[in-house]
Symmetry: C2
Subunit: 273 residues, 2 copies
DNA sequence: CGCGCGATTGAAGCGACTCAACGGCAGTGG
DNA sequence: CCACTGCCGTTGAGTCGCTTCAATCGCGCG
């Protein structure tokens, strides 16, 4: 029952309150071994890990896990759901840094400064394991499997940062969107889900901020890609129709898409059909 | 003799070979305590740390520390110099992800995949402590101070990634450049150096890739900022003349610089003087 | 001295930003 | 119940800044 009631944007009002009472925001009791299982660690030290309690917290859609600049008390392992990570500029502009999901670590960038440099907001109902920062070193020392998991998760977060650069590197807005969709597709595949059916948890504005373009441009790029028969778009539901074509489009960094667009746009009748 | 004769850029030809023989790529003997001192750790566990040898490697300007896609054998702590981190797209476009200097960690993003997702090239003569990956876990377990240092350094690297997003978030090229220069200035200050005198180690093209604009635009932005009397530019030597003005300019994310530019351009005579 | 490369500057085209309007949907309150 | 209010998403039109192509200059090096 992970992300059953997706509720991406902002809503989740009405009949949710009783759910709160039911599952509770009060920390469900779990142990480090649950964290290790989530992160796909081996079965080493499970006996010890099973003896160390860890709290599990549910975050409903639209809620903030931690604010930018807030004192950091814990790091988090995402058990289910999707978070949006962003920074707010002096003029109020929200720059989205990324979207993180299951098995990813959150808040580790605050270890060095003790303050969160970013804000994390749940885009759907989420659940995270909460690990107090003061327990980090000790636990990593006592439980080598846990230390390993932290290293791997953080390294993964570090490597994932280049996805943003990858997207930004392309000049054409359609190429940026194509790369973004392919990243999502790869994540879906990594989770064993269909890499062709994407259910976007974020708004067009969030995507626009992440891609570094205006949100109107994102809208236009969606319709353009759909017009090229590379994807099907129904609001937040995106289906990749032509995976190879999408990948081919994503390769061009500078503006030589003319050939590709010419090839695709060579079927205007089909596009209009 | 890993990648001694890298030849990525262009320079480092002629009289460099004998230097190789002189200072040697052969690892200078150091210990973990040297690493701890570099990273500003406390004096805990120094006795043990001093007993664990660590190799120190010199990398000359233009040489590659590790290639993109290469099997990762070690992580590195930068002792001196500056590295350029980048990825190469399918069409040969180099996307620069960042520039790392003293006390920063390099290559940790390969821990999870065992392959380097990025390439690191020395922009000047550098020296790094080399820590084999197979020793990472064990050393962190046995020497808690070292484990702490790794956590802090990696967290710092994670937090530093938002500098790229910060730069990219601005739409105007001059604002991106201004933010970039301010980041460099802050690093200079953190190292106890003058925050106003910057000696750029990278080419305009590298900056352009990092900022996500054409290199001609970087050139133009430099002259524009100089024309506004915010900086002085002499090729790679940049002096921040008006720190407050530069900061004020860097605040505008969207394109409302008109007021600021008008205010600055209100003194055309002064500009031309 | 020629070659390659970095850096600057110019000119022209185009694509993204901006402003604006519209339809759709959900939650709200009379 | 239904207008009312936001917000999301889409589409249109116009402006402007960046990209692109091009030429030039300076510099290190063979």
């Amino acid at each position: 029952m992970n992300s059953s009631i997706a509720m991406p944007g902002h809503q989740t009002q009405g009949n949710v309150m009783y759910l709160t009472a039911l599952v509770g925001t009060e920390a469900t009791r779990s142990t480090v071994s649950d964290v290790l299982r989530l992160m796909g660690a081996g079965d080493a030290d499970v006996q010890y890990a099973a003896s160390v309690p860890v709290s599990m917290r549910r975050v409903r859609a639209g809620e903030t896990l931690f604010h930018e600049g807030a004192h950091a008390e814990s790091i988090y392992f995402v058990r289910s759901g999707t978070f949006k990570i962003f920074r707010t500029a002096a003029d109020g502009y929200e720059q989205v840094l990324g979207f993180v999901g299951r098995t990813e670590v959150l808040g580790f960038d605050a270890v060095s400064t003790n303050d969160h440099p970013t804000e994390a907001v749940a885009l759907e109902d989420c659940s995270v394991y909460v690990l107090p920062m003061r327990d980090l070193f000790g636990l990593a020392e006592r439980c080598s499997a846990f230390g390993r998991v932290v290293h791997l998760a953080v390294s993964d977060a570090l490597a994932r940062q280049c996805e943003l650069a990858d997207v930004i590197a392309a000049v054409a807005a359609e190429v940026r969107l194509a790369r973004f969709l392919l990243h999502l597709s790869h994540r879906m595949a990594a989770c064993g889900q269909s890499p062709r059916r994407l259910l976007l948890r974020m708004t067009r504005r969030d995507i626009a901020s992440y891609l570094g373009v205006a949100h109107e441009t994102v809208s236009r790029s969606f319709t353009t890609l759909a017009g090229w028969r590379l994807i099907d778009v129904d609001n937040r539901e995106v289906t990749i129709v032509d995976m190879k074509g999408l990948h081919a489009l994503s390769l061009g960094t500078r503006r030589q898409i003319d050939e590709a667009s010419r090839r695709c746009m060579a079927h205007p009748a089909v596009v209009l059909a």
